[in-house]
Symmetry: C2
DNA sequence: GCGGGGTTTTAAAGCGCTTCAACCAGGAGT
DNA sequence: ACTCCTGGTTGAAGCGCTTTAAAACCCCGC
């Protein structure tokens, strides 16, 4: 079809082929109002025939608005990947495009954000960024900013610019887990903590509150250590519990990786799950879904998060601030799989 | 510092501030030869002071060459992520920039490739793409193309354009595994197959050849089923072996996920690994590295793959075709962890 | 047959940067 | 004294598209 002599087909080529001005072609190709049905058809046909593909750089440069949303993503995180996918779709639906910038070992958040800004992004979405509140606030002064899964704690001074926040109610997540277990008949429910950070804090608080509300005795196993939120923490927690002789009948873990460590250590010590101990994770990681793991876990509504994030961006950018508060909190949901069951009748 | 009144700082602003022409500023900022040391210093100072950030779209448009390499990436694959990271660095070192395009459920390879092309990428790198050879060949006619971890099989007609190929010698990888096990004293070594595709084929061939070369009896367990290359396959294979009563003393798996399924099913059935059976995976997945898995596995040299890919691109683009053949094959390496040991003295 | 209202079309001015030919000083060479 | 360099510098022409104001057109009714 194409691939013929040398140069790439330009807008002008299409215009010439049809016998109209480049302006008309531009209008038609972007579906802008103006051109008549007939012109429209002829232009489309010619563009198709010549294999015309608009040049994004040129279009971007000429356009008054870029309609670009920058997303900072840690390419190794399945959760980030999932959010990215949904953001892609949500953005597209609103007429925006997504630009990805990966953060890697050799490329910190700041660096990645710069790239995004240089690419003319009109707004930025950051997923659980590490940057301190002050830095985020400063950035929010430059460009509309949405924080995904990251509370602002401590909140910036009220006169300082404030990023929008879209997150999951992590405190409800662990409460959900406790509910589920309590509903099954468990009363001795332990919790394995995450590292520092607002997310870990929220999940722990949710657990504590839910336990207290039910008149149950909370028991938090420490989650610090390097690195937090990994299998090792789960293994250590399991070992600590086993050393005591008396196991709780259920354990809620800060996240799925911790839960997997827990499961593994328990299995090695001949402790049946869910027969002897029930385990609940958090994140609904691909890990948890793996057939042979079948971890009961708390999931986040990634599609919802992505959708709200885009809405927040659009609200700022297109100014139709409709009902969107500065912080949006979505409810997590529980996915019951095979690691939870009623406690074994004691004996 | 910046963030002051309205508009973004442009090249012209810097030029005006220093009192030189925009042309000079452009030269200085790109480190191009020409400007004197003094001009250079003054421009740099002013740019810094004004917080100037070049506009990529404009720069891209004006530049004769884009120096952009497009990478197609499945954002959920840790292997892709790893390669991307190394490519980023390798490209940068050669003065190129990487543009990422993710392939998702709602966004196939073709779509992602188009985005890349529209972004003015001068060359494309695809990691193990699904597209048929004909399509790849066609694409290679449009733009320099490097295939990572994907052989061209069957090879396109000799007169057709041919993508460069950079891959791991998968046939040596499984041979390495067999070597290792044989060296430990194993003779009954089974293999769990992957799905269709050249990679699975190579790995199987490597196993078969290595076994035959050592006068050992090969035993291939089927790897087809949906989806191939996942834990389920490993579980099924383990069940099949257990059903027979007589277990081999070692098993090589098509990849780590299969190996993990295998490990899990064995553990559930009280089979000690590596006491009773040794297991070797392939890919050196994060999964394999997890503390509690400790899977002995064959790893690919992702940094090397990325480096070669960039070299291939540069060779095509900058025309210094130095020593680079159309297909480059890197050797895999074995990482011994805790799932392999000498076979238990029979009895 | 002409002014008026609406619909289509287009000329032209950029978007912010790069590039390249031309230009300019101030030595060196003859 | 005059030409020839040569390293520095710059004016101006784009890159391929969007956008806007204005032109062109068409159909009416008077």
């Amino acid at each position: 079809m194409a691939g013929n002599g040398g140069r790439r087909v330009r807008l002008d080529d299409v215009a010439a082929a049809v016998g109209v001005s480049p302006a008309s072609v531009s209008l038609v190709l972007r579906g802008a109002p103006g051109p008549s049905a007939e012109t429209r058809a002829r232009v489309l046909e010619a563009a198709q025939r010549l294999g015309y593909r608009p040049d994004r750089a040129a279009s971007l440069l000429a356009r008054r608005r870029s309609r670009l949303i920058g997303l900072l993503i840690d390419v190794r995180s399945p959760f980030h990947a999932d959010v990215a996918e949904h953001l892609q779709d949500a953005a597209e639906a609103r007429g925006y495009d997504l630009v990805l910038s990966t953060i890697t070992r050799s490329r910190g958040e700041d660096r990645a954000v710069e790239t995004l800004l240089d690419s003319r992004c009109e707004a930025l979405v950051l997923i659980g960024p590490d940057a301190p509140v002050a830095r985020l606030s400063e950035l929010a002064a430059t460009v509309p900013l949405v924080l995904l899964c990251r509370r602002l704690d401590p909140p910036p001074a009220p006169d300082r610019p404030r990023p929008d926040v879209v997150r999951t109610a992590d405190e409800s997540g662990t409460a959900l887990a406790v509910d589920h277990l309590h509903g099954l008949g468990h009363t001795a429910i332990a919790y394995v903590d995450g590292g520092p950070g607002t997310v870990a804090q929220d999940r722990r608080d949710g657990y504590l509150r839910a336990m207290t509300a039910r008149g149950l005795e909370p028991r938090v196993l420490p989650g610090h250590g390097t690195p937090p939120g990994t299998e090792i923490i789960g293994i250590r927690a399991a070992e600590a519990l086993l050393a005591e002789g008396e196991l709780p009948t259920a354990v809620v873990a800060f996240n799925d990786r911790v839960a997997v460590g827990l499961l593994d250590a328990l299995a090695r010590n001949g402790v049946d799950v869910p027969g002897r101990v029930s385990v609940v994770g958090y994140d609904d990681d691909p890990l948890a879904r793996m057939a042979h793991v079948g971890l009961t876990t708390v999931g986040q509504d990634t599609a919802g998060l992505a959708g709200r994030a885009v809405e927040a961006v659009v609200a700022r950018l297109d100014g139709d601030r409709a009902g969107a508060g500065p912080e949006q909190v979505l409810e997590p949901y529980l996915t019951v799989r095979r690691t939870t069951a009623p406690p074994r009748p004691s004996g």
